[in-house]
């Protein structure tokens, strides 16, 4: 099976600053890969390159069989930014529909799930007509998830979507995200600095180290699917988090 996302020797510098040393990476169809690392390790830059929001300084990126730019143009990518970025003048439902309303000719003609159903699924069914300021932070980010899922894109890119949430909400959100992603077979690239998030959601974790950003280790997460919340209390889960922590500090002390 050919990979959905393929990076060959991709690097990025901003002026004289090397943000990202050459990275090669393949993400298979339906695979969830997490870019895990401290701030400044280039994980967001890497994600933005895949999203076609930046151009690489060198190397080649293939997304869904074409260039990242082309994939972006055809709305093949569901992007979830760090802040929910909801438009305050649009209702919850209108916000959830936003990406469908933009560049409309490339929207899916028969999406697998309607916006309303997705809102029900994330527990926002009763808040369709509410405005963003009436929602809690966790609820706002759930709208952000629905907005991306509504695109029905084969690829989802998430940039630390839960970073601004409190610990408990964060835990709920990763369980929700796991539940949404599992049945879809979507290819996901997830950026985080949270080890439990990386463990719970990923098939593989690319551990990144800073200055310049690079993938210092690639770790396969051998936890069974589907993953349910109580997996976090098992010894296996704990094991993986320990491995990741060790890989992170090894990368830092390189």
């Amino acid at each position: 099976m050919s990979p959905r996302i393929e990076l060959r020797g991709v690097s990025k510098s901003f002026g004289s600053l090397d943000a990202l040393a050459p990275v090669s990476l393949e993400v298979g169809e339906g695979e969830t890969i997490t870019l895990l690392g401290p701030s400044g390790c280039g994980k967001t830059t890497l994600l933005r390159l895949i999203a076609g929001l930046e151009s690489p300084s060198s190397g080649e990126i293939v997304v869904n069989g074409t260039s990242a730019q082309e994939a972006r143009r055809h709305k093949q990518i569901g992007f979830i930014p760090q802040s929910p970025a909801l438009l305050p003048w649009r209702s919850v439902e209108a916000n959830a529909r936003l990406l469908l309303d933009i560049n409309r000719k490339n929207s899916p003609t028969t999406p697998s799930a309607a916006v309303g159903e997705l809102l029900d699924e994330v527990g926002l069914g009763e808040f369709r007509d509410a405005y963003p300021h009436e929602l809690s932070g966790g609820m706002q980010q759930r709208v952000g998830l629905v907005r991306a899922f509504a695109l029905d894109a084969p690829i989802l890119l998430m940039d630390e979507p839960f970073a601004a949430l409190d610990e408990m909400t964060r835990t709920d959100m990763r369980h929700l995200l796991g539940r949404l992603c599992e049945p879809l077979g979507t290819t996901v690239v997830f950026v985080t600095h949270s080890i439990p998030e990386a463990t719970f959601l990923s098939d593989r974790v690319a551990v990144m180290s800073p200055r310049p950003g690079a993938v210092s280790a690639m770790i396969t997460i051998d936890l069974a699917h589907p993953r349910l919340p109580d997996i976090e209390d098992t010894e296996d889960f704990f094991h993986v988090t320990t491995t990741l922590r060790a890989a992170l500090s090894a990368g830092m002390n390189r």
């Binding site: 929001l53 709305k75 992007f79 970025a85």
Partner: protein
């Protein structure tokens, strides 16, 4: 007193006290009628020919609203160009400042000569004097558009006009309404004064100018009060529109 009663009673008390003080000052110090006319006499004059003042106030109101609408339209065009290009912004800013600081009373004669007086002169003056204020409001508002939302729109390859229509223009709403209050003040003054200089035969400014020439203090002061009332009505309309259009904005929540 409950807050809602207070909100109605307090302004009335303020205005009535101001009027009484004014009346007392005029009577006690026997002030010349051209310097300050007693409110009782102004009210008598307005009551004497209500249709006359009403129809002329409508003319001035029409001049003001039309001029401001032209100004706002141009400000949205110029402001969007400025918000999307640093160069255009830096090139345009000094010109706007120049228009803003140059006393328009000084060059109105030239405008009258150029446009041959009449309504075009009045509309030009209203639009020209309020244009910089509106433009600064549009630019500031558009630049305040959430960067995360801009990136989100870019992730589905939003066209320029989509970003403008769906994100930048609504983001500018709050600051447009704020600047509209200042623009209206400028526009009303320009309308009044231009009506007195542009060889027209209607409008509060025309009556006021003629009253001054014919030593008719009553008529002069009646136009002063009428234009003040016109300004108050304008502010009410702006506030009402703002409440309607910006329901989503933090400033409209109490």
């Amino acid at each position: 007193m409950s807050p809602s009663t207070r909100r109605i009673v307090a302004p009335i008390v303020g205005i009535v006290s101001f009027g009484l003080l004014w009346e007392a000052l005029v009577r006690v110090f026997d002030i010349r009628r051209f310097v300050l006319l007693a409110p009782s006499k102004i009210i008598a004059e307005l009551a004497d020919a209500p249709d006359y003042y009403w129809s002329n106030a409508l003319v001035t109101g029409r001049h003001m609203v039309t001029g401001l609408a032209i100004s706002l339209l141009l400000a949205v065009v110029v402001g969007s160009l400025m918000a999307s290009s640093r160069f255009v912004e830096e090139a345009t800013q000094p010109v706007l400042v120049l228009i803003l600081v140059t006393p328009w009373v000084a060059y109105i004669t030239s405008v009258v000569l150029w446009l041959d007086g009449g309504e075009p002169t009045i509309l030009f003056m209203v639009a020209f004097t309020s244009f910089p204020v509106f433009t600064f409001g549009v630019v500031g508002g558009m630049k305040s558009a959430d960067p995360a939302a801009r990136e989100l729109l870019a992730s589905v390859d939003a066209r320029r006009w989509e970003v403008f229509w769906r994100l930048r223009l609504p983001s500018a709403g709050p600051s447009i309404f704020t600047t509209a209050r200042f623009a209206m003040g400028l526009g009303l003054a320009a309308a009044y004064f231009s009506e007195g200089s542009a060889f027209v035969t209607e409008g509060l400014g025309y009556i006021g100018q003629r009253a001054a020439a014919f030593n008719n203090a009553e008529a002069l002061w009646a136009t002063i009060v009428s234009s003040a009332l016109l300004g108050i009505v304008g502010l009410f309309v702006i506030s009402a529109l703002e409440r309607l259009v910006l329901r989503w904005h933090a400033s409209q929540r109490t």
